[in-house]
């Protein structure tokens, strides 16, 4: 039975990533007027063997989900900055937040559908 859930586990790891990323993007929105602030973002390292992250590279963050690591990065390449050194574009951050939310919701939906299928199979169609 445990093998049947493997795609669910991967989707769950994706949901965790998107939840963390929302917190980072929310921080960018909160700091839209902070002098000198550069916006952050998270990217998910290709999901591999969690044990292979034995050395912490600079900027690399481990994940307890077993779904690979995240990398934190500055996401202000080519951005205009205000005279006080702030690099946040509100529109860009809000767009990212919305796209991130969509991915979270999609993963949740896919989990639901997979579980519904397994429930049906487990109950022998009754």
């Amino acid at each position: 039975m445990a093998n049947e859930f493997s795609s669910v586990d991967k989707l769950q790891a994706a949901m965790t990533f998107h939840r963390e990323r929302h917190a980072v993007l929310a921080g960018n929105v909160a700091n839209v007027d902070t002098p000198g602030y550069r916006p952050f973002d998270l990217t998910a390292a290709p999901a591999g063997d969690a044990q292979s992250l034995t050395v912490n590279q600079p900027g690399q963050i481990g994940s307890t989900d077993g779904g690979g690591g995240y990398t934190k990065e500055f996401s202000d390449a080519g951005q205009l900055q205000t005279p006080d050194g702030n690099h946040v574009s509100l529109e860009r951050e809000l767009a990212k937040i919305d796209a991130n939310r969509t991915r979270y919701a999609t993963a949740a939906e896919l989990v639901s559908r997979r579980l519904a299928l397994l429930r049906y199979a487990a109950g022998d169609g009754t």
Partner: protein, 95 residues
């Protein structure tokens, strides 16, 4: 006129690819019970940690764990019913 030797079924091509079914109802049921037990324990623990505001358990983690446990238990019950059905059929066979 020579009559060729009749070969046994074993020499038919492709027959070796057909495996004997590995499923043994008793073993499947036993494994299903173990899985269900493990997943149920995990779901209960996660729910408790969530209730205690443990930072390592979020909403989607605890909901998914609960659903997995529920499906695993259902599966084990289905196997149990099948085993029972098979037993009754056997007992009702006229010899």
């Amino acid at each position: 006129m020579s009559i060729g030797k009749i070969h046994g079924v074993e020499s038919l091509p492709g027959l070796s690819q057909v495996e004997k079914p590995q499923t043994n109802l008793g073993e499947s049921f036993s494994k299903a019970l173990t899985d269900a037990h493990a997943l149920d324990n995990d779901a209960t623990q996660q729910a408790e940690r969530f209730a205690n505001h443990d930072p390592s358990v979020g909403i989607h983690e605890v909901v998914i764990a609960s659903e997995k446990a529920s499906i695993a238990v259902r599966y084990a019950v289905t196997l149990k019913n099948k085993a029972l059905e098979a037993y009754h059929e056997l007992m009702n066979t006229q010899v």
